[in-house]
C-alpha cells in the first residue's frame, strides 16, 4: 500500500461543501487540497459528481467516509463497501479515512451519528476486524479518526489513546488526528488533552482535522458539542500547533459542516492553518511522521 500522504500535500486543505462548489468552479482558490464526504458522492451520476470530477483535475482530493461504521459488532455492510470501492476506483483519492465509531445498529438501521465504543478488548477486536475488511476491500490503507465523545462506558479497560495505538499497530491503518475531537472529548469525558497528544501514535498520523465546537449547558454541568458550525477556537489552534510540533508537517483540514459561511471566511482559517504548518516546517519538528 502506498504511503498515506503520497498524494495529498502536507499543507492546509478545506472540506468541500455544497454552497462553495460554484466558487471553486469559477476561480482557483488558495487551498492546497479538498476533502469530501464519500457518502455525498455515492450517486450514479449527476451534477454533484460532475463538479467533483472537474475539481479533481485541479485539486488533490481526499475522501472522508462517514457511514462505514467500523465499530459495528456484526461487521461491515458489503454493499456499502462495494459502492465506496467503486467511488474510490473512480476518484482515486489521495487519502481515504473513516471514524473510530459505529453508526449502523445490529438490525441494519443507519443512525447517522458517530456513536461511541467502549474501550475494551472486545470492541478493539471488532474494530480491527472491520478495519482489515475495509483495507482489503479498498486495496489500500485507510486513516481512522479519533472520536468526539459525549458518553463513556464504565466497562472500558483501556484509555482511548491505548485503544487507538493498538488498532493502528494491529491493522497497519493510519491515524486521522482530529484535534477538535481531542479538545471536546477531553472536556466531556475528563482526560488531559496534552497527555493524550503525548500518548497517541503520532508516527501514524496521516492527516489532522480542525473544526469548531459549541458549549451546551445542562442542569448541573456542560458538554462541548462537536458541531462544526463555527470558527476553530484558540484552544484547538493551540492543540494543532502542539501536534504539528511533534508530527512535523502533515495535511491539515479545516472542516465546517453547518452554518456554512461565505468561502472567504473559511479561506482565512485555511490560511491560519497553513501559517502554523509553515512555522512547523521552518522550525523543524520533534519527530517526523513520514
Amino acid at each position: 500500500m502506498s504511503a498515506p500522504t503520497a498524494r495529498i500535500p502536507r499543507r492546509a486543505g478545506l472540506g468541500l461543501r455544497q454552497p462553495h462548489i460554484a466558487d471553486f468552479l469559477a476561480a482557483a482558490q488558495p487551498v492546497a487540497w479538498l476533502e469530501v464526504h464519500s457518502e455525498n458522492h455515492l450517486a450514479d451520476g449527476g451534477p454533484r459528481n460532475a463538479a467533483l470530477a472537474a475539481l479533481r483535475r485541479d485539486y488533490p482530493v481526499s475522501c472522508h467516509g462517514v457511514g462505514l461504521s467500523l465499530g459495528s459488532v456484526d461487521g461491515l455492510d458489503r454493499g456499502h463497501l462495494a459502492r465506496l470501492r467503486a467511488l474510490y476506483d473512480w476518484l482515486e483519492p489521495g487519502l481515504v479515512s473513516e471514524h473510530i465509531a459505529w453508526s449502523v445498529a445490529e438490525d441494519g438501521t443507519y443512525l447517522n451519528d458517530l456513536l461511541p465504543l467502549p474501550y475494551t478488548e472486545e470492541a478493539l477486536a471488532v474494530l480491527c476486524r472491520n478495519i482489515d475488511q475495509a483495507q482489503t476491500a479498498f486495496g489500500r490503507q485507510i486513516l481512522v479518526e479519533n472520536p468526539s465523545s459525549y458518553a463513556a462506558f464504565p466497562q472500558s479497560t483501556l484509555a482511548e489513546w491505548q485503544f487507538i495505538a493498538e488498532a493502528v499497530a494491529r491493522t497497519g491503518c493510519g491515524l486521522l488526528l482530529d484535534v477538535n475531537n481531542i479538545h471536546v472529548s477531553a472536556h466531556n469525558t475528563g482526560f488531559d488533552a496534552d497527555a493524550y497528544l503525548a500518548s497517541v501514535p503520532l508516527a501514524a498520523v496521516g492527516e489532522i482535522h480542525v473544526a469548531g465546537h459549541t458549549l451546551h449547558r445542562f442542569a448541573e454541568g456542560c458538554l462541548l458539542i462537536d458541531s462544526h458550525d463555527r470558527p476553530v477556537t484558540d484552544a484547538v489552534w493551540r492543540l494543532l500547533a502542539a501536534a504539528l510540533a511533534r508530527t512535523g508537517p502533515v495535511p491539515v483540514l479545516v472542516e465546517r459542516d453547518s452554518e456554512i459561511p461565505p468561502l472567504a471566511e473559511l479561506l482565512a482559517e485555511v490560511a491560519a492553518a497553513q501559517a502554523l504548518l509553515d512555522r512547523t516546517a521552518a522550525g523543524g519538528a520533534l519527530t517526523d511522521a513520514a
Partner: protein
C-alpha cells in the same frame, strides 16, 4: 457488551425507551440521560434535516412544525436501512398518504412523490441526450421502428391532483405562495435533468402513454399508437421534436427490422 450497547442505543435514539442505554453510560455532573440526548438529537435532527432539505415544497405547504413532526414519525417508522442518505426518503410519499393528520390535503402525498422523483433524477446516471441530428434524415418508416432509451434522469409522476401547479406555487424560491385551485384536474409531470438542473414539464395523457411505452422498450410506432389511444390528438412528430429538444431520450437501443412481424 458491545452488542448490548448497539441494541440499546438504537432503541434510545429513535423513539424507544432510553433507560437501558442510559444504564450503560457513565455520568457525573452531566447525567447519562443528558449525554444520550446529544446523540439522540444528532441522529433525529440530522435525519429530519435530510427530509426537510429534500422535500422543501411539501414542507412549505404544511409548515415547519407539521413537517418536522411528520418527518420525525417517518424517521421512527422507517429509519435508513443503509448508510446512504442520497437514497433516503423515497418512502415518505407513501407514509404521507397513510398519515391521518395529512388527510385534509389529499394532494400532499403526490407532491411529495414529485419531490422524491426530483431527488432521484438529480442523482441518476449521466448519459448523452439524443439530439435532433441523431434522427435527422431518417425515413419515417425507419424512424418508426426505432427503440429509444429514456434518459436515466427521466421520471414520470402522474396524479389526480394539479401537482405541478401546486409545486410551482409553493417553490422555496418564491417570496409568496401562489394561489392555486387544488381541485383543478390532475396533472402528469415529466421530471428530467437538463444540464445541472432538474426541470419539470407538464405533459398530456398521450405524451405520458407514449413515454411509458418508450420506457418499456417498444418501438416508436407502437409507442405512438399508445399515445393516440390515450389522447386522439397525440402527434408523434410534435412529441419527438419537443423531447429531443429537452433531452428526454438517451440513445437508440434498437431498430426493429422490416421483416419483424407486427406486434
Amino acid at each position: 457488551m458491545l452488542r448490548e450497547i448497539q441494541r440499546t442505543f438504537r432503541t434510545a435514539l429513535l423513539g424507544g425507551d432510553p433507560a437501558p442505554a442510559e444504564a450503560l453510560v457513565a455520568g457525573d455532573t452531566v447525567i447519562p440521560a443528558e449525554r444520550l440526548l446529544v446523540h439522540r438529537n444528532n441522529a433525529q435532527l440530522s435525519l429530519i434535516g435530510v427530509l426537510a432539505s429534500d422535500f422543501p415544497v411539501t414542507r412549505r405547504i404544511v409548515g415547519e412544525d407539521f413537517f418536522r413532526e411528520m418527518a420525525r414519525q417517518f424517521v421512527f417508522a422507517h429509519p435508513p436501512q443503509r448508510p446512504e442518505l442520497l437514497a433516503y426518503g423515497g418512502g415518505l410519499p407513501d407514509f404521507i398518504a397513510a398519515f391521518p393528520p395529512a388527510r385534509p390535503l389529499p394532494y400532499l402525498a403526490d407532491v411529495a412523490r414529485l419531490e422524491a422523483a426530483m431527488k432521484q433524477s438529480y442523482f441518476a446516471a449521466d448519459a448523452t441526450p439524443l439530439s435532433p441530428a441523431d434522427l435527422a434524415g431518417l425515413q419515417d418508416e425507419v424512424a418508426e421502428k426505432l427503440v429509444l432509451a429514456l434518459h436515466p434522469s427521466v421520471r414520470i409522476v402522474a396524479s389526480a391532483h394539479p401537482i405541478l401547479t401546486i409545486h410551482r406555487a409553493n417553490r422555496p424560491d418564491r417570496a409568496e405562495v401562489g394561489r392555486v385551485n387544488t381541485a383543478a384536474p390532475g396533472q402528469t409531470v415529466l421530471v428530467s435533468r437538463l444540464a445541472a438542473d432538474v426541470v419539470l414539464d407538464g405533459i398530456g395523457h398521450g405524451d405520458a402513454a407514449f413515454l411509458a411505452a418508450v420506457g418499456a422498450g417498444r418501438p416508436l410506432a407502437d409507442a405512438a399508437a399508445d399515445g393516440c389511444l390515450a389522447d386522439p390528438d397525440f402527434d408523434l412528430q410534435v412529441s419527438l421534436t419537443l423531447h429531443l429538444a429537452q433531452g428526454t431520450f438517451a440513445g437508440i437501443i434498437g431498430r426493429a427490422r422490416p421483416q419483424d412481424p407486427p406486434t
